[in-house]
Symmetry: C2
Subunit: 548 residues, 2 copies
């Protein structure tokens, strides 16, 4: 593997950790916990892992000598910057407890456990991946660990390798499944602890005890870098409106954080659209209004940030999609028999009046996509909709109408962008390097303390690293019951953007100024070697949440 100059220089970085973790630690038990909702149901499903206390690691003068232990690790789901550092922290943590401890990585996600596909992660391998982006050290995958068959199959290889603890690095679903696995192994007395680590780029695995999911910081900074560059271009050329879609299907944390970092003219927040029950036309009108106002000042340019999941948060669009799914599922044969050029009209005729009107208002490319591009279950593939182009086109049409009506005189030309893959495997920022390494090291401490069904937790991360608090939080504490594929299931509650939270409120208080003024900020690329105010800042979201 030929390395870039930065990669070589960066390999030498020593991640910072909570002070307590540097020496021997002891566990401080907090109060017993409850799930966030549906306590009775969750308790019944997790008799062995429900109600456990929150844990905190504090310094201890006592030297503990622990037997060597074999540990397994799995990367689950989409890539996020810092995954390699979680593994490096875990490796150093278990080696620190006993140099003969060994770490095994299961390959290409949870499937590696079930298929017995693994490799031992030795010091040489770990050193190649310290402070790097990507999940390529062992790969990742989206297989869901849900059935006892999978659990039993996994146990075979765990027994064979004498693995006593398994660390699963993943998002809300993966951590939910990690807890189900922990409960099962406890119940059958398998002798395998299961510990989770909170990863999502989208930032939607977040609560009182898990203040950030790793990767969110780095990804947002990469997106903010390129958006900032686009904004500077926008403000120099003064002739384009840039419509920029950002990752985040189920929550708008990324769009909001980027907005806080770059101060765009417009940022749509899906959660607000849903709460206000806005229609697609409302969203389009809001954008068009800003375009008109800026044009009155001679500013025929600007930036619009759009969260990837927007369409699914618009109640009317959700209704349309539901009816489309339902109608097409029952009329696929008839639909296919209609000549291609008449299909849109055919669909429109068969929809209820309200939905037919919305359907007719969509650009034909989008309408076609909604009826033709369907997943194997026959469902509309909302993620394929190019929302940034859809909005740009619809705003353009609205402005044409306004021009005809004499209400608008500007020029409107657009450029569209979508940023996702650009950030998921970036070299982790100092924050994510430190945070991830600490999460992995804390996971090792949870293993040493004999815990299972816990998620590694590192808090107070807006303070300098030595004031960070390491501990564990029972996964069941974050759960509630939700309907999934028609069945009630225990799941970790997703953290959406809270409209009464400090980050959104700051945004809402400033957005009118950002819309009309041109108050762009240009964050520039992530820096690793410079002054601390440049290199060591957490997200604006987290700072606002913690009142810093």
């Amino acid at each position: 593997m030929k390395k870039s100059a930065l990669q070589i220089a960066r390999a030498a970085y020593k991640p910072k950790m909570p002070k307590a973790l540097y020496g021997s630690v002891k566990v401080e038990n907090g109060a017993a916990t409850q799930s966030v909702a549906d306590q009775e149901e969750v308790k019944k499903l997790f008799p062995h892992t429900y109600g456990m206390p929150i844990l905190k690691f504090v310094e201890s003068s006592e030297q503990v000598s622990l037997p060597a232990i074999n540990v397994g690790v799995i990367l689950s789901g989409g890539q996020a910057p810092g995954g390699h550092n979680v593994i490096a922290g875990l490796f150093d943590g278990i080696k620190n407890l006993n140099v003969s401890s060994r770490l095994f990585g299961f390959l290409m996600g949870p499937g590696g456990l079930v298929d017995h596909d693994y490799k031992e992660l030795t010091a040489d391998i770990i050193d190649e991946y310290r402070n790097t982006g990507g999940f390529d050290i062992i790969g990742s995958g989206r297989t869901k660990l849900e059935s006892t068959e999978q659990f039993d199959k996994g146990l075979e290889i765990l027994k064979e390798l004498d693995i006593k603890a398994l660390v699963i690095i993943g998002g809300d679903d993966s951590n939910t499944n990690a807890c189900v696995l922990a409960e099962y192994y406890k119940e059958i007395n398998a002798g395998v602890q299961v510990i989770g680590c909170p990863k999502t780029i989208d930032g939607d695995l977040k609560n009182e005890m898990i203040e950030a999911s790793f990767g969110f910081d780095t990804a947002c900074k990469v997106y903010a870098e390129v958006i900032g560059n686009i904004q500077r271009d926008c403000n120099s050329a003064r002739k384009y409106w840039h419509f920029i879609k950002l990752m985040g299907r189920s929550a708008s944390h990324i769009a909001l954080e980027c907005a806080l970092q770059v101060q765009p003219n417009i940022c749509i927040i899906s959660e607000e659209v849903e709460a206000k029950e806005l229609s697609l036309d409302d969203v389009v009108s809001e954008i068009a209004d800003v375009v008109v106002k800026r044009a009155e000042n001679g500013n025929n340019f600007g930036t619009v940030l759009i969260p990837e999941g927007l369409i699914e948060f618009i109640p009317a669009m959700k209704g349309l999609i539901a009816e489309l799914n339902d109608f097409l599922a029952h009329h696929q044969r008839e639909f296919n028999a209609v000549p291609k050029d008449d299909q849109l009209v055919y669909v429109q005729k068969n929809l209820s009046a309200g939905n037919a009107k919305i359907f007719a208002s969509l650009p034909s490319g989008v309408a076609r996509q909604l009826t033709l591009d369907r997943d194997p279950h026959g469902n509309v593939q909302v993620s394929l909709i190019e929302t940034e182009k859809l909005l740009a086109e619809m705003v353009g049409s609205k402005l044409e109408e306004m021009k005809t009506a004499g209400k608008y005189k500007g020029k409107f030309a657009t450029q569209e962008h979508f940023f996702g893959y650009e950030g998921r495997c970036a070299i982790p920022s100092n924050y994510d390097s430190d945070y991830c390494y600490s999460l992995g090291y804390t996971a090792a401490a949870l293993i040493a303390a004999g815990k299972t069904g816990y998620m590694s937790s590192v808090r107070n991360t807006t303070a300098p690293a030595d004031e960070w608090i390491a501990g564990g939080v029972p996964v069941t504490m974050m759960m509630n019951m939700e309907r999934r594929h028609g069945k009630m299931k225990p799941v970790i509650q997703k953290a959406l953007v809270e409209l009464d939270g400090a980050p959104f409120k700051y945004f809402a208080a400033n957005r009118a100024d950002w819309a009309i003024g041109t108050e762009f900020i240009y964050p520039g690329p992530i820096q690793f070697f410079g002054p601390t105010e440049v290199c060591d800042q957490p997200t604006v979201t987290l700072k606002l949440e913690q009142g810093r």
Copy 2:
């Protein structure tokens, strides 16, 4: 203007310069020059500015005291990182010669000169923009200075402001026009010197004396950063082929430089496609072959870099587009009368056999774009063609055929990206910060030396900055005669990728390994504060060209 932490820290950076420029300088005259071709014609067009010697500035012990001078500056054409530093260097340069000298910026490009739209650039303003990206200090524009009416109109405001020298920062066309202006002002004895500065992100303004156009270094590094991130993702998830289009319509320097930095599986070089007279199907087949070979090793993923201008370099596509332009220009009414759904068939029927076949092979979206999206002159808008999607779709179709024929068994899923605006206004790298500042400072020295029709030249830039060589090169030296809009005109010869040059040869010697192996490099973000091997490297292209 609220500034990011990096912007504040970066403001303090002192750009490095050639050693000679720090003190008093004297001019060393080199040999008299000739234009690169068509010497007689060019000489006839530029009687006052043809044949001048190459200049070099060397240290001098003599203290010169110069009268105060008013200088004008113009940013012309597309944004490129470092433009603000050219202006800062120019400002510091003329102030160093006489503190009472003044700098005026013409607004929104060459149009500002003609329309008398300007502002004085004082120390306060300059300080706000040191080491920043963008052209927003005075804006830029694409008005071409070509007519004597424009020159005379410009002279009015130059006289009014007592401006004795004008610096035009632009690409090949803008510098050509700067030279025409220099010649004209000399001829009419206007008393205004004109100096050019070489800017193009595309890197196609380059020759023996101008070893790099500013902005190319930074932009390529930004693109290489995000491509590297995508490659790490690609190598972690192992399930997508990423088709990545990059800026560069008339030359593939950016794609080549990015390939040298990231080692993708495939990089198309337009100049090679043209030289080998490849068809679109040839290009598609080459990509498909690599996909098939990688699939045989279980690697159903990879990256393909595509230069923006590819389509126009494919001789057969060029032929098709020419016939389409010609046919539609003469049959617009007939075309419009055909029902929309029959238009493609109508066009196909009326094309010559060879072109009809190519037209029929295109995905219908592209065929539609070629016939419908036309510029105000009725010409096909090649720049709107989403070449990255076109190639991904056509490779997919080819693989389907191969699958049916039993020659391919892999999976092929794609993601497409286009990077352009992400890099044009990035914070300039150390290289571009230094290079641009030196170019501006050198322009001041050229003014002090009484020169006109020269381009600011800074060479030997793969060596440490104090060994750089500052001087001037007569613009006429780079010219030849080319047909533009049906007329022969003197223009600066565009530098395309040379297939016998060291950068391409290095790429060609390694690409087979990069294709089959996964030898991705991950450059990471531009660093400003770290070790010199990370922060102070010129492009790989330049290093290879200079044998470093």
